[in-house]
């Protein structure tokens, strides 16, 4: 009887110990429990999301979450369509400064070896850009052109680590275009004073 009791106590103790260690190994870190979620969030689940008011176009490539949209560029270009001037039209001498784009200063590329206009602009069809393989690229899809050199930034932009979304974290993904933030002729942000200052906390 005593032996039988002792044996059962031992068995129970073993079972408890096994169960305990099993629980300990199952306990996941917070980060692991976050990364284990692999079911996508329904982007339409947040009802208050309003459509973006700016014009957008569907990106010709996909992010990890599938297709997404990007802010359009063409309507932001003051004198688009470029073929209005770049064509058969006659040019008057007094308009020369304007028409030669004298206001455009290029700070793009290495110092002393800056890019030229036709490194990006199509030499014949001025309504388009042209990549190094000679393909026509729409102004709205300039990420295809920029991504030739800045492929790391483009990869991050597609994923969401570079650039930003417009207004909403939920809803259909609408991202800023390269040219929304960067001036393509001088892409580096200019030095300036900060918007405010901080006083010490203590």
């Amino acid at each position: 009887m005593a032996r039988w009791l002792g044996g059962s106590v031992l068995l129970v103790a073993l079972f408890l110990a096994g169960g305990g260690s099993g629980l300990a190994s199952e306990k996941k870190s917070f980060l692991d429990s976050v990364k284990d979620v692999d079911k996508p969030f329904d982007s339409r689940a947040v009802r208050q999301v309003q459509p973006i008011t700016q014009t957008t176009v569907l990106v010709k490539e996909e992010s990890q979450g599938g297709p997404f949209r990007v802010l359009a560029r063409k309507e932001q270009i003051e004198r688009y369509r470029c073929s209005n001037c770049h064509g058969e039209k006659e040019v008057k001498g007094k308009d020369a400064f304007n028409l030669t784009h004298g206001n455009v200063v290029i700070h793009h590329g290495q110092e002393g070896n800056a890019l030229a206009c036709i490194d990006c602009h199509h030499p014949q069809d001025r309504n388009s850009l042209e990549d190094k393989k000679g393909r026509k690229i729409d102004f709205d899809h300039s990420y295809q052109l920029c991504g030739q050199c800045h492929f790391r930034q483009k990869r991050d932009w597609l994923g969401g680590a570079h650039g930003k979304r417009v207004a909403y974290w939920a809803g259909e993904r609408v991202a800023y275009n390269c040219t929304t933030c960067h001036d393509p002729h001088a892409p580096k942000f200019a030095k300036r004073f900060p918007a405010t200052y901080s006083v010490p906390l203590h």
Partner: protein
């Protein structure tokens, strides 16, 4: 089969709460009666006394005896929100819309900050001040940006008071704010349970239950909390009127306040004001429980770190480099 009546009572949590607060309910009834009586007295004795003033008094009495936000039913939340809106109109003459949106299901907010991209323009800071109705007089800021020496990763070694043209060569910039820890030490320090972590991961403060003891400020290892020494002084036209009970509503004097990931925006799917204002795209915000979100992309593909990770506070705010 139905439960016997006494069993039912035990299983209903709202009953247990009302049992506990019977003294409160008694005082509440008493006070409302007293307020009504005093108001009647004022109106009766002083002819032409401002009727609006007695209305304000009643609202303030009712506000004084309300519950902790977490114990309120949706109906009670709606009532206090309405009272606060009317009080804002009566006292300050402003028309505000205060929300009490609940957390969204299957959402856990996370934030990432790109220390390679930030150039210290501090537009996030001004946007935050504006959005969250921060005091202009004491220049309260929830966000701090530090100018850092290369190789350093602790903001306490950086310069948080810079004011010169940025970016400076061979320096980098690092922002701090409330990190909304999963295991938040501040919420454990609160003696009145006025601060807690919401199911969507945002650490919030019930400003009407905060007694201003500042234990939470002492408990936070990240200097994420701010104490207000008075009601915020803001030009009337600059007040953000779309507010949330737990967010940017105008706080009473002597309360603890902090970044709420702009709860009034994010619960409607919008980005926080700092993310929207950032001119360099250094700030990434999204749902940690969505494998396709930007924040999850950063966690998966970038070199990330968190501040004082060894403390085990599990902040939901990651720094990353390109």
């Amino acid at each position: 089969m139905s439960l016997p009546d006494n069993e039912k009572e035990k299983t209903d949590p709202t009953d247990a709460l009302s049992e506990k607060s019977s003294r409160r309910a008694f005082l509440k009834g008493l006070s409302i009666g007293a307020a009504a009586a005093s108001a009647a007295l004022v109106v009766g004795c002083v002819p032409g006394a401002d009727a609006a003033a007695s209305g304000e008094l009643r609202l303030r009495w009712q506000e004084f005896f309300k519950k902790n936000y977490r114990l309120m039913t949706q109906e009670e939340k709606d009532q206090t929100v309405e009272r606060l809106e009317r009080l804002a109109a009566l006292r300050d003459g402003i028309d505000v819309q205060i929300g009490s949106e609940p957390p969204l299901p299957k959402v856990l907010y996370g934030y990432a900050f790109n220390i390679t991209r930030c150039e210290g323009f501090m537009e996030c800071v001004t946007a935050c001040i504006k959005e969250n109705n921060l005091d202009r007089k004491t220049n309260t800021q929830y966000i701090r940006i530090f100018e850092m020496e290369p190789g350093q990763l602790d903001p306490s070694t950086g310069d948080g008071k810079y004011f010169h043209e940025v970016p400076v060569e061979n320096k980098f910039y690092m922002g701090t704010q409330c990190f909304h820890c999963e295991n938040a030490p501040c919420t454990k320090a609160c003696p009145t349970k006025a601060t807690w972590k919401e199911p969507d991961g945002i650490v919030v403060v019930d400003y009407d239950w905060c007694i201003g003891c500042r234990y939470c400020q002492a408990a936070c290892p990240y200097f994420g909390r701010r104490f207000n020494w008075g009601k915020a002084e803001i030009p009337k036209e600059e007040i953000t009127t779309k507010q949330h009970y737990l967010g940017n509503r105008l706080r009473p004097m002597g309360k603890m306040e902090k970044c709420t990931f702009c709860i009034q925006r994010t619960r409607k799917g919008r980005l926080p004001a700092c993310v929207e204002a950032c001119p360099t795209g250094s700030r990434v915000f999204g749902n940690l429980l969505d494998p396709d979100s930007e924040i999850r992309y950063v966690l998966k593909h970038k070199k990330v770190f968190r501040m004082k990770e060894e403390l085990g506070t599990e902040p939901k705010f990651w720094y990353f480099i390109d």
